[in-house]
């Protein structure tokens, strides 16, 4: 025995040409899964796939193995535009303290029933 797996074989050997082009890694995709009782797709994680069709299949294999989902979306990670983490102040802190934007700020008028 020469070591390694006996059920493996010459899989690692390249046939014929021996050309080894440097391969680009597969692009990244973001995966969204809707569970059977869920109303919306929820971000589950990401994966690599050569194209959209294979990305859905890889998502099926990676994120619905344990009966988690009934529907999948995949989106190229490059298509997602995100907010700037350094702009937290201007983006998200402005809404703090503005309690008049919440329904609980307002008192119920007399005579309004069933609210």
């Amino acid at each position: 025995m020469t070591g390694g797996s006996t059920t493996g074989d010459d899989g690692a050997k390249a046939p014929s040409t021996g050309v080894h082009e440097k391969r680009e890694p597969w692009p990244l995709w973001e995966v969204f899964v809707r569970s059977s009782r869920g109303l919306s797709h929820v971000h589950a994680g990401s994966l690599h796939a050569p194209d959209a069709e294979m990305a859905v299949r890889n998502a099926r294999d990676l994120y619905t193995r344990r009966n988690e989902g009934v529907s999948l979306w995949v989106v190229p990670a490059s298509a997602i535009v995100s907010s700037d983490p350094d702009a937290k102040g201007q983006f998200f802190e402005s809404s703090q303290g503005k309690d008049y934007r919440h329904a609980t700020y307002y008192t119920k008028s007399d005579g309004v029933k069933h609210l």
């Binding site: 059920t7 050569p50 990676l62």
Partner: protein, 274 residues
């Protein structure tokens, strides 16, 4: 799970047929049905063992998981068929998988063929998944209720295997010159073993409507492969069929090595659990 424990958010494994259900069932196959189940189980068992090799070696991590999933599906089918076959002889699935000798295995030669490169593995997957899909989609009407139930579970899984293999055949055939050449080479190495899958023999004849005549699957198999190859601009390899014999225990040089690796632990440590 009782209704009172059921939760709106808990993920359950679902309730498809499991090998354990077959193990605890009292359904006992006839000797002929058991022999037939052994063939189907051995096909899947040997291929599952072959495919397991790819884990950590596929082109990308995602493909490791895809091939690993397929191997596990096949292992599940093997467990069901072998468990059922074992009922005829008072043997467990483990007795049959780990303690039989090479001439006692009934798998066809295709299943023990080397993995080769990724394209060769995909070529083998293409043939196996299309063959098994045609087989199981008819076996659901078997007069043997257990075979029909196993097939009903398995057919959905091999349908996915079929899709996986077809997707890759298209991509490899129409990818780079290198992938195209490898796909053709993989198909050429695989095709001699196609014929054995579709060969009838006296056991099948004796089973009547409990089994599916392999020869009846050839036409639908060829139709699907021809359509796929037309789309991928591939030709069916013009190669003669290899000498079969797997159904009668005559195997190629490959099976012994597969069994040595698969069985060593069970034979060195009988009854080991962990």
């Amino acid at each position: 799970m009782s209704e009172s424990n059921a939760s709106a958010t808990r993920i359950t494994p679902g309730n498809a047929l499991r090998p354990e259900d077959i193990a605890s069932s009292s359904a006992k196959p006839t000797a002929e049905v058991a022999e037939y189940a052994l063939r189907l189980g051995d096909d899947s068992l040997i291929l599952a063992q072959r495919l397991g090799w790819w884990i950590s070696r596929a082109p990308e991590l995602e493909e490791d998981v895809a091939l690993g999933n397929i191997a596990l599906d096949l292992m599940g089918h093997a467990r069901s068929f072998l468990t059922y076959a074992g009922h005829a002889w008072g043997k467990t699935e483990d007795d049959l998988a780990y303690l039989r000798r090479e001439p006692e295995f009934r798998s066809a030669h295709l299943f023990e063929q080397p993995n080769g490169d990724f394209a060769r593995t995909i070529a083998r997957q293409l043939v196996v998944s299309h063959y098994q899909f045609e087989l199981y989609s008819r076996l659901v009407e078997s007069t043997d209720a257990t075979l029909a139930a196993i097939a009903a579970k398995a057919v959905k899984e091999v349908d996915y295997h079929r899709d996986h293999a077809s997707q890759w055949v298209r991509r490899l055939a129409q990818g780079t010159e290198e992938s195209h050449n490898r796909m053709i080479s993989g198909l050429t190495l695989t095709w001699p073993y196609v014929e054995e899958l579709f060969t009838d023999d006296p056991l099948i004849d004796s089973l009547g409507d409990a089994a599916v005549l392999p020869s009846t699957l050839r036409k639908p198999f060829d139709a699907l492969i021809t359509a796929l190859f037309a789309e991928a601009e591939l030709q069916v390899p013009a190669v003669p069929g290899a000498i079969g014999g797997g159904r009668h225990g005559c195997h190629s040089e490959h099976l012994g090595y597969i069994l040595a690796e698969m069985q060593v632990l069970a034979r060195e440590h009988p009854g080991a659990t962990w």
